[in-house]
Subunit: 331 residues, 2 copies
């Protein structure tokens, strides 16, 4: 900028005015400055600008999710990005890998970077460490799971009801022996989905045997192993409800391996690409990930504009998409 000012023969401030399109610069001067800037290939330094500017905005928001490569979260990312782009705001994303310590570290790192706001899919069991940040007015929106211990805006699915609906669908097709395969049981989403399963089973007066329930499947492979084990019992389930997209995929693998894909029913939480092309096609309880991203970002910007507005929890609808695997009847 100094160089531009020198080349155009004007003061720093005038260059600043031209760059920011402020009123009050004669056309002639503005043209001269613009020419000089182009000639020197000048790029304004946004970080310095943000430092000096009153509002302290960095034009950056943070997004912390379980894994940016997971279809569900990458779709959320996309949704967030779309809203942010309209406002010229950049998105920094990172993966937490269900590691609570990492969550705290990355939140700290984002705070140091002064991101203007944070969209967080919490993985730690308690977000008490956020208390100070929130009190200081740092805008935070939680997605997928709610925070515990602090009060933030959040965008969630009614996991319990959605899960109960999925299980009820299986019950309605005549199943009584229904298994549940879930992820890390410390996560609230996980617990809610399990609770929904229990709810549905209870309201149908269906018995739940311990070996029909598996918690803690971390990925597709672990889910497959769990499903294989579950299906090895003499009184094995005639239907399975799986708590998450990767788990559903693992379960499909297990059913295939055992040649049971057309005999054991399956309903999965979360939709995924190609679910409709599998044989049988997979019935799922679907969340609209991109819409979640949109909404979360909108809420974040609304809170940034007005930090004092009361926090709210938005429950986005989920819907059951029957495709075949969930409509298999018990033999």
């Amino acid at each position: 900028m100094k160089d531009v000012a020198a080349l155009a023969g004007v003061s720093l401030k005038t260059v600043s005015r031209v760059v920011n399109r402020e009123a009050g610069v004669s056309e002639e001067l503005a043209a001269r400055v613009t020419r000089a800037a182009e000639q020197l290939d000048y790029r304004p330094n946004l970080t310095a600008s943000n430092l000096r500017r009153g509002d302290q905005r960095t034009g950056t928001i943070g997004l912390l999710v379980e894994d940016v490569a997971n279809e569900f979260f990458s779709s959320i990312h996309r949704g967030v990005e779309e809203v942010a782009r309209q406002r010229g705001v950049a998105v920094i994303a990172a993966s937490l890998d269900r590691d609570p310590a990492l969550e705290r570290d990355l939140v700290g790192a984002f705070a140091s970077r002064r991101v203007d706001g944070l969209i967080l899919a919490p993985t730690a069991s308690d977000q008490g460490y956020l208390t100070n940040e929130i009190r200081s007015g740092w805008p935070i929106v939680c997605i997928d799971r709610q925070t515990t211990g602090v009060d933030t805006d959040s965008v969630v699915t009614d996991n319990r009801a959605a899960s109960a609906a999925g299980v009820a669908h299986l019950l309605a097709h005549g199943h009584r022996r229904i298994g549940f395969i879930g992820g890390r049981s410390k996560l609230a989403t996980e617990q809610d989905r399990h609770a929904g399963y229990i709810d549905a089973m209870a309201s149908a007066a269906a018995v739940v045997r311990p070996h029909w329930v598996h918690h803690g499947a971390q990925d597709s492979d672990e889910a497959m192993v769990a499903a294989l084990a579950m299906l090895a019992w003499a009184d094995s389930p005639t239907a399975i409800f799986s708590g998450q997209n990767l788990i559903t995929m693992g379960t499909v693998r297990a059913l295939r391996e055992l040649g049971l894909a057309h005999r054991v029913a399956l309903v999965g939480f979360d939709d995924f690409a190609l679910a409709d092309l599998l044989e049988p096609a997979i019935t799922v309880v679907a969340q609209d990930a991109r819409a979640i991203g949109h909404l979360a970002a909108e809420l974040l910007f609304r809170r940034m504009a007005d930090p004092s507005r009361p926090t709210a929890t938005h429950v986005v609808p989920s819907r059951l998409i029957p495709r075949g695997s969930g409509e298999i009847r018990p033999e």
Copy 2:
């Protein structure tokens, strides 16, 4: 920081020293400062720090890809993130949606943010606009496609050879009438994959009819329409080679719809989740997206450390994974 200094009764510089763990502060003082910082919930301002620091590093790198929600690119993102995290560097990602104007805009935006380096999957047909940035020493690594018009490090697949191998696989299984469905023909990747198709056909002296070749499928749906049209001809192809993951999915849909999934062979470029669970399972020419992300990030950091090193193009291997759809023989 001022407040911390005041509370601890020391100078700003001392606080700075403690925060950065510089030597030369007595234990007692350091403890006092640390306590004060905690009490005030102080977070260092990284942007100010970077501004002042000599090296002008923001601890941020940019990643520009076609779509962060596309499995191929989100896996790359993940790979980049893993390398960046080790160094305490954050990743800003954005989607270009194959829009050249957007590419220029976002590159400019990232330049203004002073990201320390850029990983770019080019979508514009010419990156001449980058000349100045590169000359000024801005580290850039290109992935997926090479830049044209400027000289950068790049990480690419040998699209032409890989594509030829895929088509040769079909030829080896007795096919002569092989179709090609590709994406936007302006993209270099696209052209190379098409060229590979032509190469393989030519070296087998197989005829290529114009209506067996479709360019410009932008998404899964368009690919499906193209495949349906292609398969409607009297001399329709007995096998199809598809140029990208979304296109493969659309083609699968078309084959299903026509009841040809087990009669028309299919080999796709790019692997995707569940490809092995489809019926038939889909034979693909697979790139290791995460490895591409790793390598690109490593190269970027190497260039950041030594801007003068000569640029190089790294060709990552791709491999053909036979799964069933590519081994169907013509009737």
